[in-house]
């Protein structure tokens, strides 16, 4: 009888996570805790990084069986009944369905659209040039990633980190290189949080004190009609030119139309609260769970992750630089009326990048308020990144 008990305890110990813990698991757990630390202590995009890091933590506790990365490598063999087989689908696999099906990022964009005021962009349409310019780094990074030995698809997914837009990066990576989703999501959100550190030196290096002091004219008021027409037109134009950007841009603009129409306050409110929060939570925790120790065990994965970190930084830096560069060009063309600092806000990273423009401008000239002017390129950058993502998916997405 006693033997039976002892055998059971031994059996349970063997089935416990401790006995299946490898050094790689410990590394992954340590990385998770590091990102939890960054999210809480420094508020590194905590809405996403906290769920991502905790999902990563849970997925790396052996035998928890919350996530099965292996099933996602052969999705075309999946059967409906597999959903009920806990050796195939765990809790986080089920939440991950929304990522894999490309549902979560557009729904997040719906909420973002309902939160975004495109007024500053409509008042100053030249901002769109800057929102385009600050995507150039994406394509430079693509080149860099190809040189570092990534495949075309992987290079496309890595390059989009430079878009400085989380849902766009996750959407694109899911389509092009889902196996890199964990590191790319972590890099994208981390660098977005680091915008106030990365951008100012580049901005100061590329501009003269005189340029930074330029005070811009006050923006004209924007009528409600313009704000209503804007999302409709952007949805139509972008979708027609780059159909692969439709899920992102279409939902972004639907959310914005909810906001600006003024007749569906309920839908607008829910899009930017309950719905976006639920989706953010599900997306974060399941994207984090894709970063499992098994992946780190694959030869070269660690090196790839390291290269992604380097390339992500490179992408942000180039995007910032090209944004500022085009800001300088616009300044020249306009006869000195455009402060080039607003160019860096074109990277997206709403609203952090616009605040950085404000801050750097005010350092040079305490009476300079660039925030509103920088919000134009800032929101244009969101559209720009989505267009760039559409182009990459269209050119590189095998199927």
């Amino acid at each position: 009888m006693w033997n039976v008990f002892v055998d059971s305890i031994i059996g349970l110990a063997k089935k416990s996570g401790f006995s299946n813990l490898t050094p790689l698991h410990l590394v992954m757990i340590a990385i998770s805790c590091f990102f939890i630390f960054l999210a809480i202590k420094y508020k590194f995009e905590p809405l996403l990084l906290l769920p991502i890091a905790f999902g990563m933590l849970l997925a790396n506790l052996p035998l928890g069986n919350l996530m099965h990365p292996v099933i996602w490598d052969n999705i075309h063999d999946l059967q409906f009944a597999d959903l009920f087989n806990s050796d195939k689908f765990g809790l986080l696999d089920i939440l991950y369905l929304g990522v894999k099906l490309g549902v979560y990022p557009p729904l997040i964009f719906l909420g973002v659209g309902a939160m975004t005021d495109f007024g500053p962009l409509i008042a100053n349409p030249k901002s769109l040039i800057l929102g385009a310019a600050a995507q150039i780094g994406i394509f430079f990074t693509f080149f860099g990633a190809m040189m570092l030995g990534f495949t075309q698809q992987e290079a496309g997914a890595i390059a989009i980190i430079g878009g400085a837009d989380g849902p766009t990066a996750i959407f694109t990576t899911t389509k092009l290189a889902p196996h890199l989703l964990g590191p790319i999501a972590l890099a994208a959100y981390s660098y977005m949080a680091l915008v106030p550190v990365i951008q100012p030196p580049i901005m100061k290096l590329m501009t003269t004190k005189k340029e930074r002091c330029i005070v811009m004219e006050q923006l004209r008021p924007v009528s409600r009609l313009e704000k209503i027409l804007f999302p409709i037109i952007v949805a139509v134009v972008v979708s027609l030119v780059v159909p692969d950007a439709t899920p992102l841009v279409g939902m972004l603009m639907l959310g914005n139309l909810f906001r600006e129409s003024g007749v569906v306050a309920r839908l607008s409110e829910t899009s930017q609260n309950a719905l976006i929060n639920i989706i953010t939570l599900f997306l974060g925790v399941s994207v984090g769970a894709t970063a499992s120790a098994d992946k780190l065990a694959q030869p070269g994965y660690g090196a790839q992750a390291f290269k992604i970190i380097i390339l992500g930084m490179f992408a942000f830096a180039i995007c910032t630089a090209t944004g500022v560069l085009f800001g300088k060009i616009l300044n020249v063309i306009s006869g000195g009326k455009v402060n080039p600092l607003i160019g860096s806000a074109g990277v997206s990273a709403v609203p952090m990048a616009a605040r950085v423009s404000q801050k750097v401008g005010q350092e040079a000239n305490p009476g300079n308020f660039l925030l509103m002017h920088a919000m134009g390129p800032n929101v244009a950058g969101v559209i720009g990144s989505a267009v760039a993502a559409g182009v990459l998916i269209s050119m590189l997405g095998g199927k």
């Binding site: 009528s223 027409l229 559209i383």
Partner: protein, 137 residues
């Protein structure tokens, strides 16, 4: 993959990508600038026109602050249909013109003022509230 191939692919993706991103965003500049042109035209129409516009600009914040009133909205839809047809023609023309612009050919259009919407709540809720008010009378 040879370096040559990599360069071709990268160059190709970079070129096409940059071209398309700029193409899309500059074509949006065109459209938005047309807004601005008419916005300015509109504001040049005289004092009344300008005031209308200002009222529109304040609209969103005002609406958010105001707790919509059931009594007000009771007959609001009927009012809407009583409204002058000018407004209607204005907005419909604007939306249609927007499509035309999007499709590639620009035609002139005239933007008139937009009515302020008072109803911030749903018809379902309003019914409950009305009834509640009724029982309190």
């Amino acid at each position: 993959m040879s370096l040559q191939e990599k360069l071709t692919i990268s160059g190709n993706v970079a070129f096409v990508g940059i071209v398309v991103v700029f193409l899309v965003l500059t074509s949006l500049i065109l459209v938005v600038s047309i807004f601005g042109f008419f916005a300015k035209t509109g504001s040049g129409k005289g004092k009344k026109g300008k005031e209308e516009k200002d009222a529109d600009v304040d609209y969103v914040s005002g609406e958010e602050a105001e707790d919509s009133d059931a009594e007000d909205s009771d007959t609001q839809v009927l009012e809407a249909t009583d409204e002058s047809e000018e407004d209607e023609v204005g907005l419909i023309a604007a939306i249609m013109a927007a499509i035309t612009v999007a499709m590639g050919s620009v035609s002139g259009f005239h933007i008139s003022s937009i009515r302020r919407s008072k109803r911030n709540t749903t018809s379902w809720n309003t019914a409950g509230r009305d009834e509640y008010h009724a029982t309190r009378l």
